[in-house]
């Protein structure tokens, strides 16, 4: 089966300035990929190229003709001063399907309720978006992405600014959507420790460097020390991986780091 998205030796950047060069990877159907790296490393650049709002400077980014993204923006990208109910926000995910100048139908509202039920907050449908907790707002935005019936769910920093409980619940929900519904998921995050315990593959972006592989391939001391340029240790606590910076130096491909 053809991949949903293919980056082929893509050079990405703004104007004439290249941020990332020679990026090649594919997102096959059913993938659960984490795009991880520190702030400013180029995650958003890859994300924009993926979504089609940034044309590559070189190489190509190819999207399958049937591809439809369900995009979940960073929570602070949304303006909560708008007096909108949760259901109104979820309905926005169907606006392009409803068509120009037309109003949502009963069927659209039914689907919006279903999406809210899917993420466990249908009881909040008539509440004001601004009155919700961070986790509830995030579930609303996920429901909006789902109601458009996407084949790839793209989440941009879904746990930013959330406490431990909300973070665990949101990441659990995303994994459930992948496992239960077979949804292809791309999760963008700076938090390697959080994401690595949920996704199946990781694309690591660090200061212009890019590496992609299965979680087992990427979450090794060798690979991470090489990418981050500092010695790191990967520990396992009750099946969960934790990456910590190490104080002693180690050898990575002949270099002491």
């Amino acid at each position: 089966m053809a991949p949903l998205v293919t980056f082929d030796r893509a050079t990405l950047g703004y104007g004439r300035r290249a941020v990332l060069t020679d990026i090649s990877f594919e997102i096959p159907e059913g993938d659960f990929l984490g795009l991880v790296g520190p702030n400013g490393a180029g995650k958003t650049t890859i994300l924009r190229a993926l979504l089609g709002s940034l044309e590559p400077l070189g190489g190509s980014v190819t999207r399958a003709p049937t591809l439809r993204f369900g995009y979940v923006p960073q929570r602070d990208q949304v303006d909560y001063s708008f007096p909108l109910k949760v259901l109104d926000v979820v309905l926005m995910g169907r606006y392009d399907r409803i068509g120009l100048g037309r109003r949502p139908t009963d069927d659209d509202r039914r689907r919006a309720h279903q999406a809210l039920e899917h993420v466990g907050i249908d009881r909040l449908a008539d509440r004001a978006l601004a009155d919700l907790s961070g986790g509830q707002k995030q579930r609303t935005l996920i429901a909006r992405a789902l109601v458009g019936e996407p084949n790839v769910l793209v989440l941009d920093e879904p746990t930013n600014g959330m406490d431990l409980v909300a973070t665990t619940q949101i990441l659990g929900l995303v994994r459930e959507l992948h496992e239960r519904d077979g949804l292809t998921v791309l999760m963008v995050s700076h938090a390697l420790n959080e994401v690595s315990n949920y996704v199946e593959r990781i694309a690591l972006v660090v200061e212009g460097g890019f590496r992609i592989g299965t979680t087992d391939e990427i979450m090794t001391e060798q690979a991470l020390s090489q990418m981050y340029g500092i010695p790191v240790e990967v520990k396992s606590v009750e099946g969960h991986r934790i990456v910590v910076a190490r104080r002693r130096t180690i050898e990575v491909e002949g270099n002491r780091v």
């Binding site: 949304v78 001063s81 708008f82």
Partner: protein, 274 residues
């Protein structure tokens, strides 16, 4: 008192039409935090009026092309294209607005200072609501009805790109195009109202009713409703008080609008703590 007001009913109808148009678009102006874009556009539109009055005073009517509303509309639309383009290099957006506002204000005052008409200065500052004729009201309606129809027809699109432009973009919306449509309707309404209402009242109608709406409602429909109602009430009450007490109509309407904001704020406080 009311019979005196009825003598100026054509002017009152015109004020109500201006209130209606501005209060609908004002909801977007306030929610999108482009209040000062509204102020700058109002000032540019006003400078257009000043330019037309100066041209008329200098005997350069240009075969009717120097009509105040026409000149005001042309200048405002140029500014709309500028603000909607979003490309201003290294100059921060709010600085651009500040530059536009202050230059437009200065140019307007300079032109008015040299305008031959004795009433020009007053019109430039506070408009001339009492001077609205039936024909003017019909012109205002001819602008307002299509603008409101556009806003009703494309409500969900304008709302979506205003609320979450990045997600709208991923769903295929041409965000810049919708921004331009919103700014164009804003510019047309400002330019058509400016000659009669003046900078102060147009700016007031773009901001205060929408704030009243936001204070009184938690839904978009409710915000639009209260914004329009409060603007119409302010126009009616302010105008009705200004005529018998020989007060300038624009400031009187603005003052009533301010009272309505304070009352709404009080209601909101009482409901929040009740």
């Amino acid at each position: 008192m009311f019979s005196t007001v009825l003598l100026f009913r054509e002017a009152l109808y015109g004020a109500l039409v201006i209130a209606l148009a501005c209060s609908v678009i004002g909801v977007y102006v306030v929610l999108r935090r482009i209040v000062f874009v509204g102020a700058a556009l109002a000032q540019i539109s006003s400078a257009g009026i000043a330019l037309a009055l100066w041209l008329a005073g200098a005997g350069l009517a240009l075969g009717g092309a120097a009509n105040p509303t026409v000149v005001s509309l042309l200048l405002t639309l140029v500014a709309v294209l500028f603000f909607a383009s979003g490309t201003r290099g290294r100059v921060p957006p709010d600085a651009t607005i500040g530059i536009t506002y202050s230059v437009a204000a200065a140019v307007g005052i300079l032109l008015i200072a040299k305008a031959a008409s004795g009433e020009a200065h007053d019109i430039f500052l506070s408009g001339n609501i009492l001077g609205i004729t039936r024909r003017d009201t019909l012109v205002l309606l001819a602008v307002t009805v299509p603008v409101l129809a556009i806003h009703a027809l494309f409500y969900k699109e304008l709302l979506f790109v205003s609320f979450d432009r990045e997600t709208a973009r991923t769903l295929g919306y041409t965000v810049r195009g919708w921004d331009l449509l919103l700014y164009l309707t804003l510019g047309v309404v400002i330019a058509s109202a400016m000659q009669f209402a003046g900078v102060m009242l147009v700016f007031n109608f773009l901001v205060l009713p929408a704030v009243t709406g936001l204070l009184l409602s938690h839904t978009m429909r409710g915000v639009f409703f209260w914004s329009v109602v409060s603007a119409l009430v302010a126009a009616f009450v302010g105008f009705s008080l200004s005529v018998p007490f020989d007060l300038p109509s624009g400031p009187a309407i603005s003052a009533v609008s301010g009272v309505l904001v304070m009352v709404s704020w009080g209601i909101r406080r009482v409901l929040a703590h009740g």
